[in-house]
């Protein structure tokens, strides 16, 4: 074997690192073998290639990182990956991964070492078990999706077994399902209610359909297995916990994974590996077929002597344990001591020593559920051996020994129960931890605070040794396309390696997005098992998240990861909201300024179209200058509408406005083109005339009165217009300003009004 210079990293493209589904054992297989062979693993848990939905496409962006910058070889769950595209397209995809060495699990790929499963043998074992062990001959079958290899092979195996045992094939006993639980329900209804065939057993082509069938049988009050046996295929996690536990066929996914890691490492070493490996399946006999669990049937079974001889109890026990494929939980000398202590006890000398050493050994075995279950078998075998020894005395074990053995049973049972309760407690505590982390992450909308909570709270709480988080250019996120890389650069924002913050106060480190993280930040001496996940929310892809897969279950990591995604999205939303709001504020300020400016530069009165005060001052003062240059005289008139307020009050503002407009028109017709007319505001108007002599005012005044009269006569309005004005004449324009003229004219108007008033009251 060629040794490898550096510890290689194996990639694993899968859709499942969780505890569920038939492939659940694949990831543990990868992890454990990688540990054995001392290689690193990075899992890329995505969706099938060419996923039709946005979520799937977003997940699959992590596949972009499956390249020789990050890993040295890749294992692909090819059945999953090819789901939408088929095997031939998958071949092309694998081609694109070159020069990476590739190992395929579950589909045969051209030129790629592939590890496959033997469906036929598994199904044959299940059906023959029902016939041989339980004597059932009327066996119904629920088929999987027609045309799918797994379904067809399993059905063919069923028919073959029937033929082997000379049982006639009957179509009434077959139901076409599609691998999902409702098929199981329909099948049971079909068999029991419609066709009334009452089979002795139902064989489902997978576990999901078996669940459905079990549920429906329970509803119909048909007892499994007493009235009808049931088997499945796949060995999903839940099958063990059903009541009764489901007899099923285990797919060797764990072994496939182990072999895949082994082959990948051999490829890296340049060794030859087989093109195709076919692994056998295993029948998991539980209770739904009618079997009694092994630990129960094992009690009192005649001892099968080991090769060396039957008088050595420890030897025999070890031998018998291996026969039920259970490794002995203690070594030979400990077993010998335990046995000796049991044998030495007598009615006068109770079995304290035996129980005490058993107690100690059990304490040592805690933390391993499997080992404790083997203890149960060990105690049974110990008794079986005693039975064997005492067989000469009519098979009676002395009562005190039986008592000790019963106590041993209880102690083992207690240990198993305690272990289980501790596991439940542990699971709950971990869930609470995750809940606390979610709570932590829900307390902020600030991205830096989020990163700090991950660094300072989450990493210590989860004991994750390696955790890295990188973001794409944030500006690019909003315009991101769903396919392809978002940006060419990544910014490393969290880099924690064994309690060390590798960024050391820097806010980020930028690197090309071909890399998951820059090589120098990867764990150095320690071997690692990590998972790469994309960070995204709907169509926005923010970055990537790489972390050590530690003690928690996938569900908990998954919940945490989702929360990080959502928190990042919220913080991005919040900052864009803040940006929009501050921009809005700025825009509003600018708008206000503009409006002010607009007002300041506007020269005309919007309502009447006359000049406004500003326009009047500009043009008026220019004309006044000209008058000064030419030494011309002129008039300034200040005009006030009478009764505008009354019009507004009794006829509404529209009428008031109309009166103002009409007044403007009257003024325009009254004065000359060269005279400057303006509305100063409210009901005040002014007129500046240049080159007018004193008598002009008489003429103008008469013309104004006349025009008003004409208007009032022709107007159908319920009110009459009336104007007052004051004026001044000037022949010294150089000594005047427009402002002083205005003021004086205003003063005159005021006097005029006063006279008018007293005049009126005097009448």
């Amino acid at each position: 074997m060629t040794p490898l210079n550096e510890r290689p990293t194996i990639g694993f493209m899968t859709n499942n690192v969780s505890e569920d589904g038939f492939a659940a054992q694949m990831w543990p297989g990868i992890m454990e073998k990688a540990k054995d062979l001392d290689v690193n693993v990075i899992a890329f848990p995505g969706d099938p290639l060419n996923a039709p939905d946005m979520y799937g496409r977003q997940m699959n962006r992590i596949y972009n990182y499956v390249n020789d910058s990050n890993i040295d070889a890749v294992i692909i769950a090819s059945g999953m990956l090819s789901y939408h595209i088929g095997v031939s397209a998958l071949n092309r995809f694998v081609e694109s991964l070159k020069p990476l060495p590739v190992v395929s699990i579950s589909e045969k790929l051209e030129g790629t070492p592939s590890i496959l499963v033997n469906n036929t043998v598994g199904m044959k074992n299940a059906v023959s078990h029902l016939i041989e062990i339980h004597g059932i001959r009327r066996i119904a079958f629920i088929k999987g999706v027609e045309g799918v290899r797994d379904a067809d092979e399993r059905f063919a195996a069923y028919r073959e077994v029937l033929q082997d045992y000379g049982i006639a094939y009957n179509e009434d006993y077959v139901f076409q399902g599609n691998f999902i639980a409702p098929s199981g329900i329909e099948a049971v209804n079909k068999f029991v209610r419609e066709r009334d065939v009452r089979p002795g057993a139902i064989v489902a082509a997978n576990d999901d359909m078996a669940y459905g069938a079990m549920e429906q049988l329970r509803r119909l009050k048909i007892e499994v297995p007493k009235q009808m046996a049931l088997t499945g295929f796949d060995n999903n996690r839940e099958t063990e916990f059903l009541i009764p536990p489901l007899t099923t066929v285990r797919q060797p996914v764990y072994e496939q994974a182990v072999m895949a890691v082994d082959m990948a490492v051999r490829l890296l070493r340049g060794e030859e590996v087989p093109e195709k490996v076919l692994l056998p399946t295993e029948l998991m006999v539980r209770s739904s077929c009618g079997c009694i669990p092994r630990p129960v049937t094992l009690v009192g079974e005649p001892v099968k002597p080991s090769i060396e001889g039957c008088d050595n109890i420890p030897e025999t026990i070890a031998h018998n344990l291996s026969a039920v494929s259970a490794p002995c939980p203690v070594d030979k000398s400990e077993l010998q001591t335990l046995t000796r202590h049991l044998m030495e006890s007598s009615p006068d000398n109770p079995s304290e020593n035996f129980l005490e050493s058993l107690r100690k050994l059990l304490v040592r075995s805690k933390d391993s559920e499997k080992e404790l279950m083997n203890w149960q078998r060990l105690i049974i075998l110990l008794r079986n051996n005693l039975l064997n020894i005492h067989r000469a005395e009519r098979g009676i074990i002395p009562g005190f020994l039986e008592d000790s053995l019963q106590m041993a049973d209880i102690m083992v049972g207690d240990a198993i129960e305690r272990e289980q309760l501790l596991l439940i407690l542990d699971q709950r505590q971990k869930s609470i931890k995750i809940l606390e982390m979610i709570e932590q992450l829900s307390r902020t909308l600030n991205m830096d605070v989020i990163f700090n909570s991950i660094k300072n709270k989450i990493i210590p709480a989860t004991a994750i040794r390696y955790l890295f988080l990188s973001l794409y250019d944030l500006d690019a996120i909003n315009e991101a396309e769903v396919n392809g890389l978002t940006s060419a650069r990544l910014h490393l924002r969290i880099a924690c390696r064994e309690n060390e913050d590798l960024l050391q106060g820097k806010s980020s480190i930028t690197y090309p997005s071909r890399y998951i993280i820059p090589k120098e930040y990867l764990p150095r001496s320690e071997r690692f098992t990590m998972i790469l996940l994309p960070l995204f929310f709907m169509e926005d892809q923010f970055g990537i998240f790489l972390f050590e897969y530690g003690d928690f279950s996938w569900n908990l990591y998954n919940t945490l990861w989702h929360r990080i995604c959502t928190s990042l999205k919220s913080s991005l939303l919040f900052s864009s909201l803040t940006r929009a709001e501050s921009k809005l504020l700025k825009t509003k300020e600018e708008l206000e300024k503009s409006n002010n400016k607009l007002e300041t530069i506007s020269q005309r009165d919007e309502l009447t179209g006359l000049l406004n005060r500003r326009g009047f001052l500009t043009i008026g003062s220019q004309n006044l200058d000209i008058a000064a240059n030419l030494k011309k005289s002129g008039h300034m008139l200040f005009i006030d509408m009478d009764g505008l307020k009354a019009i507004n009050d009794s006829h509404g503002h529209d009428e008031g406005d109309n009166a103002l407009v009409q007044t403007a028109r009257i003024l325009e017709t009254t004065f000359r083109e060269t005279d400057i007319i303006a509305r100063l505001g409210g009901d005040e108007f002014v007129v500046l005339t240049i080159d007018t002599n004193e008598p002009f005012i008489e003429v103008a005044s008469n013309r104004l009165k006349k025009n008003i009269k004409i208007y009032n006569q022709s107007s159908a309005k319920p009110y009459a217009l009336s104007l007052s004005f004051g004026f001044i004449f000037f022949n010294d324009p150089h000594a005047r300003t427009i402002e002083s003229l205005l003021k004086e004219a205003d003063q005159k108007l005021y006097e005029q009004k006063k006279i008018k008033k007293t005049g009126t009251s005097g009448e």
Partner: protein, 733 residues
């Protein structure tokens, strides 16, 4: 909850944390308490122990005062004016002390107390003191340590007794199990053996205590009964059957191994009621079975008698060849599966199996040949018990994992849409999978004021965005309508539907934006808590998204307004930004009035139309900034040349207009020369690589001209063109 369901009443749960709790979110958690004084409630059960953890008795009284005259029952703390249900702390401690003194002969008993501020803790401490006296033992204050009910304080407490106070003791009673565990852990860490060196007794009978090695002897509080009894009392008060009354529920010492007692299940193998009755003819078979069932604390005695009878038939009636074990297996499997949901305690099963075994071995009239067979059968039964219990626990574990799976699915869906309707619709059917069969979500209307109240408050009305119960969807955004919050339930959900609802505020940081009401199911609380947090966060995201969209919309509108204003500004502006001269618009307005006045004053005028000679080249070669400089300089030069009342404008690009009324002849004649001189001096001073020059065309007009300004400008433009041509021509020569 179970009691409410049985009694056929509805239950609303307002989960809160301690009033005045130091948690920064406490106020927002506890806002649910503000919902309570509403019309839908007939009576209140208040977990005073929790609510009152951080406040004084007086403040707690005041809190109750708020809800008068609603019928109320206080759980955990005795109140002056309110009926209460409490547990008998005194008797619990009495049993513990008495057990240690009389059964195990312990004389130096240390006490790990709860905090001095906690009422229950003080009751337990006082019970400890009085019981020592009762047994004639001295009360040594050195043996008392005040912890805070947490594991660590138990650990620290025993450490302090051993190492700091260096005090001798042979037993520890802790005011709760957490501290007992901490103490026990320290003892083993320091090399002491529990219970041989020091006996330990806890309080609460928590699951973790049972899992310790050795399992902790503890005082069981009837927590479950507490709820049921409290409800019954409340109902009686509501119905006027009972009023002021305090109920004290008994506690019970659960003896395990940490006090020095042997494991009961192991002990039963050797010493049990059956063996005691061996050979005692006076005890009839029926009576023995009855005693046996009582000793095993069997609840379903009838069912078990059937099993015993059947087992007897099987054992005595068997033939050597028949397969006994399958029948026994089936018999027990049925019974076990039926009972294990309520009887999860494996010890109880072991004790029962031990009793049955002895019954069949010793008391049945069985053949001695049957003895190995009976023992074998009971071994099998034990294996079976272990497997079934194992399976039950595994299912529990599996259930939590499955629930988390469902939760993850919901969370994924929650986060797959930022549209309220979509999100709510997506989760609606999934909530049922974690056993939430009814749920309503309300959102407050967003007020535009940015001022947030210091203390969150519940508005009068809220918008119902989702309401469903069982298969029926009663409301979904945006058609849920606005409801008065005091109704708590939206009208569409039938009020006759029996329910146990939890009311939780929805908030994210300081933003309290609504609340949700959901029906509690069988799933564990962690799932519901996580879900609630996630729903809060998801809704916050949606609201943020909505706010952000609204802000963007507003921004867009504001930008439009700004643009319009700027356009108008530009339109109205009479000045050129670059040179500060009039622009075309300004020139047109003013020139018109100037011409009119000129006409009246019989003034002639002249209009110049000018154009920079090489602006394009300057722009192209030196950049626009230089071009702008050139324009501005030309403008300033022209300005220097004209009289204050002459009109000078830049009308775009590099074009200038000048209108002079009543011009002097020699000024007109020298105009071109003068401007050239001005520019020369600019050129000389600038140090630029280009020089400025300008060409003008001009039109003189009389005061009585009929030409409009436009026309005059046109004519000047033509002149300019000619000038340029001749200038170019001249240069070409």
């Amino acid at each position: 909850m179970d009691a409410t369901a049985e009694a056929g009443h509805n239950l609303l749960i307002f989960p809160a944390i301690g009033l005045n709790a130091p948690d920064p979110d406490a106020a927002r958690f506890n806002i649910v308490l503000d919902f309570t004084p509403h019309s839908r409630i007939d009576g209140l059960l208040i977990a005073s122990g929790m609510i009152g953890n951080y406040i004084t008795h007086g403040e707690l009284n005041a809190f109750y005062e708020k809800f008068q005259p609603l019928p109320m029952v206080s759980i955990g703390i005795r109140m002056k004016k309110i009926p209460s249900i409490t547990v008998d702390n005194l008797s619990g401690i009495t049993q513990a002390v008495t057990h240690l003194v009389t059964v195990h002969g312990r004389k130096r008993i240390a006490f790990l107390s709860g905090p001095q501020s906690n009422e229950e803790a003080l009751v337990r401490l006082e019970a400890y003191r009085s019981n020592l006296r009762k047994h004639g033992l001295p009360v040594d204050e050195e043996l008392i340590y005040f912890g805070d009910f947490r594991f660590q304080s138990g650990y620290d407490g025993v450490y302090s007794l051993l190492k700091k106070r260096k005090i001798q003791f042979d037993a520890v009673i802790a005011a709760n199990d957490e501290m007992a565990l901490g103490g026990s852990t320290l003892l083993s860490d320091m090399g002491y053996t529990v219970p041989d060196d020091v006996a330990v007794i806890g309080f609460d009978d928590a699951e973790v205590a049972q899992l310790n090695l050795p399992p902790i002897t503890s005082v069981r509080q009837p927590v479950y009964e507490l709820g049921g009894k409290a409800l019954k009392l409340l109902l009686n008060i509501i119905n006027g059957k009972e009023n002021q009354r305090d109920i004290i529920l008994p506690t019970q010492l659960v003896v395990r191994e940490s006090c020095g007692c042997p494991s009961r299940s192991l002990e039963t193998i050797k010493h049990n009621v059956v063996r005691e009755c061996q050979g005692n003819k006076a005890v009839k078979k029926e009576e023995l079975i009855e005693r046996m069932l009582t000793a095993a604390a069997v609840t379903d005695k009838k069912g078990l008698r059937k099993v015993i009878n059947r087992l007897e038939e099987l054992i005595t009636g068997r033939t050597r060849t028949s397969s006994l074990h399958t029948d026994v297996y089936n018999l027990f499997q049925d019974f076990l599966l039926k009972k294990t949901n309520s009887e999860k305690d494996i010890n109880k099963w072991h004790i029962l199996v031990s009793l049955l075994r002895d019954y069949f071995l010793l008391c049945s009239n069985s053949n001695p040949d049957d003895i190995p067979l009976i023992d074998t059968e009971f071994h099998k039964i034990r294996s079976q018990v272990i497997l079934v219990i194992h399976q039950i626990h595994n299912s529990r574990r599996n259930q939590l994992a499955t629930d988390f799976n469902e939760l993850t699915n919901i969370i994924t869906k929650l986060n797959s849409s930022v549209v309220l309707t979509g999100t709510l619709k997506a989760i609606q059917s999934d909530l049922r999978r974690i056993d939430i069969n009814s749920c309503c979500i309300y959102l407050y209307e967003k007020d535009d004021t940015d001022s947030r109240p210091a203390k969150p408050a519940i508005p009068e009305k809220a918008e119902l965005v989702m309401a469903f119960a069982d298969e029926n969807l009663y409301a979904l955004y945006p058609n849920g309508g606005t409801h008065f919050i005091r109704d708590i339930f939206p009208n569409p959900i039938p009020t006759d539907r029996k329910h146990a609802y939890v009311i939780k505020p929805l908030f994210f940081m300081e933003d309290h934006f609504g609340f949700m009401i959901f029906e509690l199911g069988q799933t564990t609380g962690i799932i519901y808590e996580t879900l609630w947090l996630e729903i809060s966060a998801a809704l916050k995201t949606i609201l943020l998204f909505r706010d952000q969209k609204a802000a963007e919309e507003k921004l867009k509108k504001a930008l439009n307004d700004l643009e319009a204003a700027n356009r108008k500004l530009h339109d109205l502006s009479q000045q050129d930004e670059l040179t500060g001269l009039y622009n075309r618009r300004g020139f047109m307005i003013l020139s018109e009035s100037r011409l009119k006045l000129g006409k009246r004053l019989k003034q002639a005028g002249i209009l110049f139309y000018g154009d920079l000679d090489n602006l394009k080249e300057i722009n192209d070669t030196f950049g626009h900034q230089e071009g702008d400089w050139a324009i501005a300089q030309a403008g300033y030069a022209l300005k220097r040349l004209i009289r204050p009342n002459d009109l000078l404008a830049r009308i775009g690009g590099d074009e200038f207009l000048i209108l002079c009324m009543d011009p002097k002849k020699d000024w007109v004649d020298n105009f071109n020369k003068n401007i050239a001189a001005e520019l020369d001096s600019v050129n000389a001073a600038s140090g630029k690589q280009f020089s400025l020059s300008i060409t003008f065309g001009s039109v003189l007009f009389r005061h009585d001209t009929n030409l409009s300004v436009d026309k005059i400008i046109n004519q000047a433009d033509i002149r300019l063109y000619e000038q340029k041509k001749s200038k170019k021509g001249g240069r070409d020569k």
